[in-house]
Amino acid sequence: MHSMIRWMLLVVLLVGFISPSPEAIAADIATHNSEVSEIAAESSTETTLIPAPQLKRSDYPNMGFSSRSVIWILAQLHLFFAAFVLAVPIFVLVIEFIGFKYKDDRYDDMAHEFMKISMTAYSITALFGGTLAFALFLLYPQFMAYMMRVFNAQTLVYAGLFFAESALLYIYYYGWNAMRYGDAKWAHLTIGLLLNAVGTTLLVVANSWSTFMMAPSGVNEVGAVTGSIWAIMKGPLWNPLNLHRVLANVAFGGAVVGAYAAYKFLSAKTAVEKAHYDWMGYTSNFIAILAFLPLPFAGYWLMAEIYAYSQQMGITAMGGILAWLFVVQAILIGTILLSANYYLWSGMSRCEGSERYTWMIKYIALVLILGFLIWVTPHTLILTPSEVATLGGSHHHTLGPLGLMPAKNIAVNLMLIFTFLSFQLYRRSDKIITVSWAKAGNALMVAIYVVAIVNIIFAGVYYGYFTNTVYKVGSSVMQVVSTLIVIVSGVVIDTLMFKNAKTLPSTWGKVTNFSQYALFALPVAFTWLMALMGYVRSSVRTHWHVYTVMKDNSPENYIPAIGYAGNMITIATVLFLLIIVFIFWIASLSNTKQVPEVNNASNC
């Protein structure tokens, strides 16, 4: 039909072209324009109104193995490495800038070393990304065809960004020493900034695919594209996921390079090496914790948006089978906080002035452990009838309330506040404050801690257990803001108070070997946590490829059982950690030089 119209148009045009009358030419052009517009409109309508395919079981290739498991492992490993290589340049740029501003080569060397670790990881990211793409097209061809139709040319933009990312990354890393001082350093920093801009854009573009699958936008109820690519990308979950992933990636990246520093510290032969890697480990832990502290709030925002988009989806995540995974999440986050705090407490032994604060450690530990225990207390227990009879009901009369969100909100916020306290004490350990208003500043800091803690407990207990649900949910914002006030005011007050402070001697490298194991615990817990919560995020779609729009009709269109999921998560975590150990080894190998063999003949 279209080709016929086009031929007719051509004939009309030719006839018109032969005609000498200008009026006739104008009329023909007008006719042509209107017909072309009609064709374009018809063609556009046909393209945009193609619904998502309704797949049958036979549409999925049967390869003789679990397609979902293969995609699961590949996608998870790609995500781990992508998170790492996108995060490292973010904090490397900040460290490089600090080194440049304060003219301290130690920062510059450390930033360069961080980049060295991420370089090997970069090629592994690309390898897993390519393998994942092949596997997706092979195992889920119809689904991928639909995604390609929806995202269209955006996928090519993604590929283009990947080229730009690679070029900038190589220039940034290999040009480090060539652009180390003066104006050239500004050029290097600009390249680093561009690298991060491109890297973050890559991240948010890829995030739009995940969030489209969870909460599709820019398509109608049958999945036909009705909006622009921007309408498709900016779904309700896009920005919460963007924020959550950027923060989580930085925390994860910091934890992984911290493990590298610990590995190098433990294998260091000289005191200078030990001092360098001790400092590197401290910096990595600092980055990981700084990014980790606001992470629960970003997660809270994401969950709130999930509930707002679909209450059913929210309940699947937090009220159904997946709810138990939040207990596992609590264990992993508890491990992260305890490890990070333990590392800070151990690190206080580096500073002569730390004796002033060590008495507080036992109280901080007590709060962390109590918070951890409250967080892991489940609300619903799987009980036998005799256990129910012994308990006097399905919930424990004393511990039952601790299984509810208000108690957990109190626990989480207090754990974060006390982790910040550890961090603040560590920073104060080697300082003697000299400002005239030191007493008032300290009193204000103590007051902020005390009032914030009372406010968090009051909001959790009163609104959580004695008012209606809306006030209960609303009061959690009060708690979050209280925690943020402590963190922000702590940083501001300390920065002002440290002006002209006397610095006591600190000895880098003077930490126990045992403290380094805390730096190993961090990336293990972070990796496991990311795999676990990634499973929850993906599973809330239940039997949909694209929620409410494109059904999953494959043999594995159900939420996998927790035990099976636990195995998959663990396999992905162990594989990642094994490859990371390989990367550490490769990074060390580049520093190793073979000593030339002595020629015995010439010696004689």
Binding site: A447, V450, V451, T467, N468, G474, S475, M478, V481
Partner: protein, 46 residues
Amino acid sequence: MKSLLENTTLVILGAFILTFLIFYGIDHFIMAMQGLPLNFDMTPAQ
């Protein structure tokens, strides 16, 4: 002013009163912003 800042009890008391008032105001503001106003004694106004 300088002598006031040297009195430890006054400094601590002042810091606590100031912080309490700030948190009290912030709590009211946050809840009102969400359409959940509070009474003077912090009980729900709705």
